[in-house]
């Protein structure tokens, strides 16, 4: 059996090796040899992937657990470094390591010629390490290590081209917004510690405690704190997974290299919030109020981001908003306690969204950095393979029958409908969102690949099909986005491998939740038909609206007017709620309070100085006078002693 610690070990070795390469080659003009660096960069994620694969095949049903040692050991606080490899982490690890490997491979082509080639891959490997730790850990603190680690890598990679201050500002924003969420995570852990000590931070112990009927009474009394913990963990998830209210960083995060957007800001990192919800499923199902919050936040986010996606001109921004929207779908699923479905959507989404991003990356690469869709068009003839990949991804995301997104989105919609009395309304909202999804994605495909080329002529001459290193991963991912859904095809009896894999982890929680309300029975074919109809409707609207000559592109591609106020609504909100008060407070402290203190200091110093000067002026230059004075003083003292000492 492969020890579990090997999985994170490989990428961290890769990180160290690549950092060494990056630093040691920093003196030379042309940078490190790209072939060797690229090989190292792909090799270690690949090793991780292979070891995960081998482990997955031999995994017992209850999972594998390994404890490496204690991390923090105090009488009141004990945390181990331990790994847990079960159904949930298996699936997450499989696609995380797999997609990372693919994208690392893609990046060799994409990043060719960049001076910081080795640094880029060092970050990618570090990201993989953190993500593996996040997914593989058996306790919340260690998950938090990965949680902040991925945030850090995201920061580093968004600001990767740091010569441009705009990029590093976007990175800062991502990190800070994530930090806000992370503090929520930390406080969630503190709540759990208050309830039952640090042992509760371990997933196994937490689940055992929650499911044990003996502790029911204790849970009952701890319910307010438990609900608070749930809300706080969810708040952490909203930061990482870009949900309302902490969602503004993700569109800005598109400043990073496109493969990074594909890997971190679409396929893996942003889904870790969903992962955490699934991990804590046993906790969440006990507190319906938190589930409801998750559900509505998910629905609102999905709908809001879908509309915002309609207004974007930047190809990556459209994809970013669609990611937020899809994450909203996943949260909705988690909100109705269908954690396995939400993970399934994570899984399928990672394929088609990665494919879409990589395709967009290929387009941008071939247009030498052009991201504005209004200056694209007609690329299907020049880049057929890329177009094919993108169209596959498009079909998957809108839920075209047979493609991956169809199955997972269909399941989510179904779960929403049967969730309870509010079900039909939720279903309606989600279906509407699905229609909008099809509209803006159709808009993207139409503006990019159909019609006439609208960009400058010199860029047109440069357009070329992506090189093989980029194309191969794209094709693999597009195959995935076509067929990954068959792992849990609701309409095909028996095709439920995915659900069975997750059942040991989230099954108990979902059973608990579904027993709470009566199930509504409706044929799955109805949902499938309605879903398909939504996709077709959306495509039709997009075709009607956007399949016509485009106006001339002007400006920097940012939306204007009501579109901007919709898109940047939360930016404005953050600005008024957090940024401006903080700045005002800092200004007040700096300009008012600090100056008062400085004035007081100046006054005190002045007094001391005047006193010192006065004394000093007595003792300038007159040694004789001073000695005479001291003699006189001495005489006085002796006289006093003689007089009062009883001698006189």
């Amino acid at each position: 059996m492969i020890p579990l610690w090997l999985i994170p070990l490989f990428p961290i070795i890769g990180t160290i090796a690549l950092t060494t390469i990056a630093l040691s080659s920093s003196g030379s003009k042309q940078g490190p040899a790209e072939g060797v660096t690229g090989a190292v960069a792909v090799f270690f994620p690949l090793l991780s992937f292979v070891s995960v694969l081998v482990l997955s095949l031999g995994m017992p049903l209850e999972g594998i657990r390994q404890t490496l040692g204690t991390w923090i050991s105090l009488p009141a606080f004990q945390v181990d470094i331990g790994f847990l490899f079960d159904g949930l982490s298996r699936i997450m690890l499989l696609f995380v390591t797999g997609i990372t490997t693919l994208i690392a491979f893609y990046s060799i082509g994409y990043m060719r010629g960049d001076k910081s080639f080795a640094r880029y891959f060092a970050y990618i490997n570090l990201f993989l390490f953190s993500m593996i730790i996040l997914v593989l850990s058996d306790s919340l603190p260690l998950t938090f290590l990965g949680w902040e680690g991925v945030g850090l890598c995201s920061y580093l990679l968004i600001g990767f081209w740091h010569a441009d201050a705009k990029n590093s500002k976007a990175g800062n924003k991502a990190f800070i917004v994530n930090r806000v969420g992370d503090v929520g995570f930390l406080f969630g852990m503190l709540c759990l510690i208050s309830i039952g000590g640090s042992a509760l931070l371990s997933y196994d112990y937490l689940n055992a405690w929650l499911l044990n009927p003996v502790s029911a009474e204790m849970i009952g009394t701890a319910m307010p704190l438990l609900s608070l913990a749930g809300i706080l963990f969810f708040f952490g998830c909203t930061g990482k997974s870009a949900q309302i209210p902490l969602l503004t960083w993700l569109p800005d995060a598109m400043a990073g290299p496109t493969p990074v957007s594909a890997l971190i800001h679409a396929a893996t990192m942003v889904t870790s919030g969903v992962y955490l919800l699934a991990r804590l499923s046993n906790l969440l199902v006990l507190i319906p109020i938190v589930l409801n919050v998750i559900l509505f936040v998910g629905l609102l986010t999905a709908f809001w981001a879908a509309i915002a996606g309609l207004f974007q001109n930047d190809i990556k921004k459209v994809l970013a908003y669609s990611t937020i929207s899809q994450l909203g779908f996943m949260f909705m699923a988690a909100g109705v306690a269908a954690f396995d479905v939400s993970i399934f959507h994570v899984f399928t989404h990672s394929f088609f969204k990665a494919a879409l991003f990589l395709g967009a990356g290929a387009v941008i690469h071939s247009l030498t950095g052009e991201q504005d869709m209004r200056r694209m068009g007609g690329l299907i003839k020049k880049m057929p393979w890329t177009s094919l990949v993108m169209i596959f991804g498009f079909l998957a995301i809108i839920g075209f029958p047979g493609f991956a997104g169809f199955w997972s989105k269909d399941l989510i919609l179904e779960k929403l409908y049967v969730s309870g009395p509010m079900g039909p309304f939720l279903y309606g909202g989600a279906l509407l969102t699905a229609v909008i999804t099809a509209v803006y994605m159709g808009r993207l495909i139409i503006m990019t690949f159909f019609g006439k080329y609208r960009g400058s002529a010199e860029k047109e001459a440069h357009i070329h099909e992506a090189p093989a290193t980029m194309l191969i991963p794209m094709l693999v991912l597009s195959i995935g986005s076509a067929f990954a859904g068959f792992l849990w095809a609701g309409l095909i009896p028996g095709a439920e491998i995915f659900r069975e894999m997750l059942a040991p982890v989230v099954g108990a929680a979902q059973a608990h939740a579904s027993s709470a309300h009566a199930a509504v029975h409706l044929s799955p074919w109805v949902f499938a038909a309605l879903g398909t109809l939504a996709a077709l409707l959306g495509m039709f609207i997009a075709w009607k609206l956007f399949m016509r000559p485009m106006p001339e592109a002007k400006g920097d591609g940012e939306p204007e007017g009501f579109r901007a106020s919709w898109t940047f609504a939360f930016d404005t909100l953050h600005k008024w709620i957090a940024v401006i008060p903080t700045k005002a407070m800092a200004w007040f402290l700096d300009v008012v309070i600090n100056n008062i203190i400085l004035a007081a200091q100046w006054l005190t110093m002045g007094i001391i100085e005047i006193l010192g000067d006065g004394v000093r002026s007595l003792q300038v230059r007159k040694v004789g006078l001073q000695m005479a004075l001291s003699l006189f003083g001495m005489t006085l003292v002796i006289a006093l002693v003689v007089i009062y000492g009883g001698l006189l």
Binding site: R621, K622, V623, G624, M627, A628, L631
Partner: protein, 104 residues
């Protein structure tokens, strides 16, 4: 009439008073130095005078310490004169009031 122990102290007191007066009142730097020596001598005399009022072993310390005082005085005179020589070079004056424009 016999020699009294306090007579010695009174002589020492007079010498000390004269010594310190010389140090503080005279303007010539050499007199300042000599005044210090005189005061030190007075202290030595006082030491020995007191030593003689003590019995046996106790009387030893008072007779030893003047030796050290003399040695320290020698060192002090040595340094003091060296400094005087140095100052003389730049000031061309023995008047200590003229030395006061040294920074300090």
């Amino acid at each position: 009439m016999e020699l009294q122990a306090s007579y010695i102290q009174i002589v020492a007191l007079l010498l000390f008073a004269i010594g310190i007066s010389v140090t503080l009142t005279r303007r010539n730097v050499f007199f300042v130095l000599m005044g210090v020596e005189l005061a030190l001598n007075a202290v030595n005399l006082s030491f020995i005078g007191f030593a003689k009022t003590l019995p046996a072993t106790a009387s030893v310390a008072g007779q030893i310490l003047p030796l050290f005082t003399i040695a320290v005085a020698a060192a002090e005179a040595c340094i003091g004169l060296a400094i005087v020589i140095m100052i003389f070079k730049s000031q061309e004056s023995a008047d200590i009031d003229n030395y006061s424009n040294m920074k300090g």
